[in-house]
């Protein structure tokens, strides 16, 4: 239909070239953090875990004050009570309120774990970064030290340290951190070494960027993901270690409360009062599960290699 061609052509008008618009980015650019958060939000399990964790955290903060009793007062008129309106989670062999003890214990366990993880983070990142950045002989010596330390089964050393030092929150934290930072140091060093040999660092060097700027602008922002992920996994393992130490009688002692102390107390009256073991067990398992799932989710969200 050649005669129609003319009409159709009339419908088309030449568009004016707008070079400015072509290059315009219509969507606001996302920071690395926003980008990760967007990806984490799509992970249902991780978000549910995050919500549960926040609830547990709030209960750990406020729980001991919500109930009718405090966590240390004994009441010999009300020993071994089943959960009821007065004592929501029952009472233990000294008549202490389990509800208050559980949330006080959660508070202490979380506190120990977070402090230990923070200490690991500071020492590990500093050691790993110094080792990777200085390189050469310093790096060599520092790595030999790490190699020897990784050969030591850390829990044994923690147990020995706990025997020598007076049991307490600070002691547990220090004992766990003495060997705990090694993992972080290795990860950070390996990652910085990898980054150092990448093109964008070379490009920055070629452009004459000072070393301090390369460290702050390129190396550290790129390492944060790994540090965050590793910390997310350090916390549950620290909670486990605390509970483990209390369970074999080396951690905190009653009337202090921690999840390990409660599980240990609950275990001794397991035959008759299983709820004394059950409730703290549920709390510790919930914390560990949610931290692990959230850690997995964060790894998927922060690690660019997992992007699909």
């Amino acid at each position: 239909m050649p005669q129609d061609t003319h009409n159709i052509d009339a419908l088309f008008k030449p568009a004016a070239a707008r070079p400015g618009d072509q290059e315009k980015i219509s969507k606001k650019s996302l920071s690395a953090f926003q980008d990760s958060w967007r990806r984490l939000r799509q992970n249902k399990a991780a978000i549910i875990s995050l919500v549960i964790l926040i609830v547990m955290l709030l209960l750990a903060i406020a729980g001991p004050w919500i109930g009718h009793h405090n966590y240390y007062s004994t009441d010999y008129g009300a020993v071994y009570q089943k959960p009821n309106a007065e004592h929501w989670f029952g009472t233990d062999k000294f008549g202490r309120d389990q509800w208050a003890r559980i949330w006080q214990g959660t508070r202490i366990s979380l506190l120990i774990a977070v402090l230990a993880a923070a200490l690991d983070l500071v020492i590990g990142v500093a050691y790993g970064a110094v080792s990777a950045l200085l390189g050469g002989r310093t790096d060599n010596v520092m790595q030999r030290i790490i190699e020897i330390l990784t050969g030591i089964p850390s829990l044994i050393i923690i147990i020995l340290l706990m025997m020598v030092m007076k049991p307490g929150i600070v002691t547990i934290m220090i004992a766990m951190s003495i060997t705990g930072w090694v993992n972080m140091a290795r990860l950070v060093r390996a990652h910085i070494m990898k980054l150092k040999s990448q093109e964008f660092v070379l490009a920055a060097r070629t452009l004459g960027t000072p070393t301090s700027r390369i460290i702050w602008k390129h190396l550290i922002p790129n390492t944060i993901g790994i540090i965050v992920i590793n910390t997310m996994f350090t916390i549950p393992s620290a909670i486990f270690t605390e509970a483990f130490l209390s369970f074999i009688g080396l951690g905190l002692q009653s009337p202090m409360s921690s999840l390990g102390v409660l599980i240990n107390d609950g275990f001794s009256s397991l035959n008759t009062q299983p709820y004394l073991l059950l409730y703290p067990s549920i709390v510790i398992v919930l914390i560990m599960v949610t931290f692990n799932i959230l850690g997995d989710g964060l790894r998927d969200a922060l690690d660019p290699r997992m992007r699909k």
């Binding site: 020995l160 025997m163 020598v164 509970a243 275990f267 599960v289």
Partner: protein, 311 residues
Amino acid sequence: MKRYIGIRIIYMIITLFIISTVTFFLMKALPGTPFDEEKLAQLPDEQKQMIYASYGLDKPVFTQYVNYIKNVAQGDLGTSFFYTGQKVTDIISGRLFPSALIGLQAVLLGLAVGLILGIVAAYRHNTGWDYATMIIAVLGVSIPNFVLAALLQYYVGLKWGLLPVAFWESYPSSILPSVALCVGVIALIARFVRTEMLEVLDQDYVTTAKAKGLGTIRIMFQHVIRNSLISVITILGPIVVNLLTGSLVIENIFGIPGIGSLFVDSIKMNDYSTIMGITLFYSAFYVLVMLVVDLLYGLVDPRIRLASGKG
């Protein structure tokens, strides 16, 4: 390769030396003594001196240390304070069997279940099987093994009466502790195998095999599973740690006369020499496993062998 083994063995010795030194001085710094303090106070000084002398405690700390290291180098871990007159090495070897049996059963069971779960999860990626496996894996690493052991003991042993609740009487006594111990192993292995297999399934040679028209079973067994299992060796280290720590609490819960419960008991009794002995025993075991892991890995995977040969 020989040079590499040599260097590794030197490291092993240095590590063990450091551990024995640290242990020795930590034990010296311990508050309290392994002796019954009340009874000791009633004894005349002469007899006290005799007791100290019989354990070599009358000498200066440094001399004690040198003697200790000398003895350890000859495989003598000293005499127990609590089990009077018994050699620590004898006590440990007498307690070895239950621990070894439970540990071995846990590893085998964990390997079998973990491998199957991991393989099925990767093969049926993103299906119900996969999700179920991941849930088991997360629960397995998240439930502290002593909590699991206590619950198993209460429900399976006490309430349902299916298996012995505790103590070391006959073979069934070893089942519950092994199950409690293997859950962590299952979780570690299932998760690891799944990740490895997903990676291998993405490889070009799997596509090639499919394009050649090989059957699914052939591809899985000849290419995928073989290649993913190589690296399972590398998680043997964490698995051993898992078993060692697990044995400390689980043997205690189930009243198993193994090394783990001996260790916890000697901590409560302040039995220095036994504590030091078991610490060294555990460390030596751990260090040895790590060495075997590295060597085995180099043996099965030539790519690693080349890399480690250089360093």
